[in-house]
């Protein structure tokens, strides 16, 4: 029997109220409007794997990340961690043990570190919050150990964030993320603000830490090449929904959803082979008024009448889960 997943979401939904102000609604006779950033997401993340989510801006991947770590409450549905539904935990005392096990690395290492705190203070914060080690030499040793693990020097603990480059700051964020001995790390675009040579260092560091600490990653990125290097399984999101979910090799060699195929075709051709590519058309529609039927149909080269009316469900096709009425069209 397969092992139970570490994290599972069931019918996860997050809506945002994007209505005009009350007076405007009253005067212009408008109703309330809402935006479904995440729209009924079911996924499972296995212990020890890197599960990647890809998609363009507005697809809901960062909203999902923020729900995972408790920064946002789901509107509906459940997030289960080790079989426990996190949204049912009402008191702080109930939540705290899970908060310790789930940590997040943010995209922008410039805004995610408090500029007035010394690095050792930043890294020790999760340890203090969770009362893991009392203040004193033991805490200093732990902070020094964390700094070394992420490739910095224990002496860096006395400095302030502005004394570091972007890549070094992201190392500090990672050290803070590891401080509470988490099991699950949500990495939201951890390298997209970094230069490519620094990106390689951070991606390698994340891989090394995963191996040495037995971590599970939810890795969110818009960069497919980064996802190819990091992920074991990949989910592709479009307008709040999963449109394809597959193992990394399968997804990159046999993309089944036309949107996945389109994303792959946007990749610059570094080998300069001049391979044939489908021309990319259109932009992501406004998520406040998503298209009827399949949300991708206005941009899809294979769309037919059914796609405009009926929303396709995620179904199994040759080991991949695909939400498309013509799941093999993109393979041709």
């Amino acid at each position: 029997m397969p092992e139970a997943p570490l994290v599972r979401t069931r019918g996860l939904v997050r809506q945002f109220d994007v209505s005009s102000p009350f007076l405007t609604r009253l005067l212009q006779g408008q109703g309330r409007r809402s935006l479904k950033a995440v729209d009924g997401l079911d996924l499972e993340i296995r212990r020890g794997e890197t599960f990647a989510l890809v998609g363009e801006s507005g697809c809901g991947k960062s909203t999902l990340a923020r729900m995972m770590v408790g920064l946002l409450r789901p509107t509906a549905g459940a997030i289960e961690f080790e079989g426990v539904d996190l949204s049912r935990l009402r008191t702080r005392a109930e939540q705290t043990p899970f908060r310790r096990k789930i940590q997040m690395i943010f995209q922008d290492p410039y805004s995610s570190l408090n500029p007035r705190w010394r690095i050792r203070h930043i890294i020790a914060e999760p340890i203090r919050t969770h009362h893991l080690i009392a203040k004193g030499p033991a805490l200093d040793r732990r902070v020094a150990e964390l700094l070394i693990q992420v490739g910095l020097s224990p002496r860096d603990g006395d400095k302030f964030p502005h004394e570091f480059s972007g890549g070094q700051r992201q190392r500090i964020s990672i050290a803070r993320g590891l401080a509470s001995n988490p099991e699950f790390l949500v990495c939201d675009e951890p390298t997209s603000a970094l230069d490519v040579s620094v990106q390689a260092q951070i991606l390698n560091l994340l891989k090394d830490l995963q191996r040495s600490h037995g971590l599970t990653y939810l890795f969110i990125s818009h960069n497919l090449a980064v996802v190819y290097q990091m992920a074991d399984r990949v989910g592709v999101m479009y307008l709040g929904k999963l449109v394809e979910l597959a193992g990394v090799e399968e997804l990159f060699t046999r993309p089944r959803h036309p949107y996945t195929r389109m994303l792959l075709d946007t990749l610059p051709d570094l080998s300069m082979s001049g391979r044939h590519r489908v021309r990319v058309a259109g932009e992501v529609p406004n998520p406040i008024a998503p298209p009827a039927g399949c949300p991708f149909h206005p941009r899809c080269p294979y769309a037919h009448d059914r796609c405009r009316i009926e929303q396709p469900e995620l179904r199994n096709h040759g080991g991949s889960l695909v939400a498309c009425h013509l799941p093999d069209a993109a393979l041709q």
């Binding site: 490519v196 040579s197 390689a200 260092q201 994303l263 946007t266 990749l267």
Partner: protein, 332 residues
């Protein structure tokens, strides 16, 4: 053929309390009519400053302290602001990363375009409007005759960048300086903007200086590429040659650290360390502390650009043999 643009020994300094620091150091290159030169480097390498110097928009206290910039054989770096303003727009167009900074939110798209057209050409207002609609059609804005009276907030990010490109094209310039034109855009839109830039070159023979941190963009759109590191040009040559057979160890390291799809997954090749700050550029070759092949000479003497196969590179690994042949080299 005479180069359209010629940059000779460009040096840009930033005065500080501790004396001037050199931000761009002895950079020389040419752009031929109709050629796309990519300029690639990490943040702080000096690529954007080089672009700003060419369009005469270096923001003080940064200043050009030596060197020359020639357009069609005429110096343009020492022109009074009034004459430079006419060259900018008429002969050199500019496209920046964030389209909103180049557009005025209070004017319609049409007003911004027609004003620019009337400034730089002898067209009447009604002719200018016709020309503005043509330009919008050319950059791929659907229903241009209606959209021309829209405001920027009514456009998506990709459409705004198209408008900025239309603005840059108003006076049919011979050179466009594009600084990270696709960086702020989603991947699918990025591919469309690159396709547009390529088609403009094919139709009008507009030369372009394409500044980017993304080697993929260079591979897609440039003819030649110049690689910058710590304010210096380290390698310049045909794109395919530089990407597939990089000569300079920094270029090779940069290429190795780019995640690619296909092939082995695992650790990425990484360059240890980070690019030095402007105030702490080492002696000799600026890359030597991070270079695995550094020799004594690299720590002592600064290499200058010299031919190496089909490219030019500033590296003693390649220049050594040249010096042996020509008695009277720096070490003789």
């Amino acid at each position: 053929m005479r180069p359209l643009l010629s940059v000779r020994n460009l040096r840009i300094e930033l005065p500080t309390r501790h004396g001037p620091v050199v931000a761009v150091d002895d950079v020389s290159f040419d752009i031929a009519p109709g050629e796309v030169l990519g300029v690639v480097g990490e943040s702080g390498a000096g690529k954007s400053l080089t672009g700003s110097a060419i369009i005469g928009l270096l923001s003080p206290p940064l200043r050009m302290t030596s060197g020359q910039i020639l357009l069609d054989g005429q110096r343009i770096d020492d022109l009074p602001e009034e004459r430079m303003r006419r060259i900018r727009g008429r002969q050199i167009g500019a496209v920046f990363q964030e389209p909103l900074t180049s557009l005025n939110p209070l004017y319609t798209i049409g007003r911004q375009l027609t004003e620019t057209i009337e400034t730089h050409t002898a067209l009447t207002p009604s002719q200018a409007r016709t020309r503005a609609i043509e330009l919008l059609e050319e950059v791929g804005i659907p229903a241009a005759d209606r959209r021309i009276d829209s405001y920027t907030h009514e456009f998506s990010g990709g459409m705004r960048q198209r408008v900025v490109i239309a603005l840059a094209l108003c006076a049919n310039p011979r050179l466009i300086v594009a600084d990270e034109p696709t960086t702020a855009l989603d991947v699918s839109v990025q591919a469309q903007i690159l396709a547009l830039l390529k088609s403009l070159r094919a139709r009008h023979g507009t030369a372009m200086m394409l500044i980017t941190h993304d080697m993929g963009v260079i591979a897609e759109a440039a003819d030649r590429v110049a690689v910058m590191y710590a304010g210096r040009l380290v390698e310049i040559g045909p794109v395919r040659e530089v990407i597939q057979r990089p000569k300079h160890p920094y270029t090779a390291g940069l290429m190795g650290s780019i995640p690619k799809i296909g092939g082995p997954r695992g650790r990425l090749r990484q360059i240890e360390g980070t690019m030095p700050g402007l105030a702490e550029i080492p002696t000799g070759c600026a890359f030597h502390p991070r270079c695995l092949q550094a020799m004594d000479r690299c720590r002592r003497d600064r290499p200058s650009l010299a031919p190496a196969g089909r490219v030019h590179t500033a590296c003693w690994l390649y220049s050594a043999s040249v010096d042996d042949l020509t008695a009277g080299g720096p070490d003789a």
